[in-house]
């Protein structure tokens, strides 16, 4: 692949990278910094790009790593490694929303546009959960693509993703409560 082809292919993806950076940072000025950092890194290591591979995915990987590094800089040297794995994540997450279905909260939530509340809630998730949900649920990548972008095995993607969804659902339950859909004093479900 010639340098010109690389430039063309990678620069054509800037809108995608910006959107991804916005989803990760939820802040226009931080997203801009992140896009710039992503492109500086991409161009410095352009030889590592495999011709024929997915430029968008490659850029997302770089962008997500740059995002993690910016968080580390902000927060000192906290470890962003997985907390734990586990097979209970899927069921635990589903069981949580089972409660919302059971007490009617889910019904009420189903009639509202959840996207604005969820967008806020994503911004409150910590890493590595935020990236997992952004890469799979917001950007629509498969588990396998996410595994490549996040640089972890598929099992880890699933476990992070399911835990992220569970945290988001917990926030939705708070949101429902704040919106007056009390789940404490239960009313009969009509």
């Amino acid at each position: 692949m010639s340098r010109e082809e690389f430039d063309r292919e990678v620069l054509a993806r800037m809108e995608d990278v910006y959107r991804f950076a916005m989803s990760l940072t939820r802040d226009a000025s931080r997203a801009e910094d992140l896009v710039q950092e992503t492109y500086l890194r991409a161009f410095r290591s352009w030889q590592t790009f495999q011709p024929g591979s997915d430029a968008r995915r490659w850029l997302f990987t770089i962008c997500r790593n740059a995002f993690l590094r910016s968080l580390e800089r902000e927060r000192g040297t906290m470890s962003l490694e997985d907390l734990t794995g586990g097979d209970q994540d899927a069921l635990g997450s589903v069981m949580h929303h089972a409660r919302m279905v059971g007490d009617g909260t889910a019904d009420r939530l189903a009639r509202m546009d959840l996207a604005p509340a969820l967008a806020d809630a994503i911004g409150q998730l910590n890493e590595p959960f935020r990236s997992a949900v952004v890469v799979v649920d917001v950007e629509g990548n498969s588990y396998e693509e996410a595994s490549e972008i996040l640089g972890v095995p598929i099992g880890t993607v699933r476990s992070r993703l399911f835990r992220a969804r569970r945290q988001l659902q917990e926030r939705l339950a708070d949101y429902a409560r704040d919106a007056g859909f009390t789940t404490v004093a239960r009313e009969p479900v009509s």
Binding site: D7, M14, E15, Y18, R19, M22, S23, A28, E32, V35, Q36, Y39, L40, F43, R44, A90, L91, S93, V94, M95, H97, A98, M100, V101, A106, L109, A110, D113, L114, A115, L118, A119, I122, V133, V136, D137, V138, E139, G140, S142, Y143, R158, L161, F162, R165, L168, Q169, L172
Partner: protein
Amino acid sequence: MSKPTCDCTTAMAQLWDYLDEELTEERYEMVKEHLANCAHCLPHAEFAQGFLSALGRCRHAGQMPEGVRHAVMDALKREGLV
């Protein structure tokens, strides 16, 4: 030969994988079959589906400001990368 079937716990444990279309075809059909016949699990699946589609709508919709491309190109030039 009877169709493979599953109980509620098994179906719910695979619900996310099912909705994400990450199951093998056989398992996918098994969960689908269960949901079609289980009044207990179906509302959970519907709620989860609505939740995931709302997440999909969280994609940033705005255009990238024109200034971003200029700033990136300037930075690349400054570093001698283009």
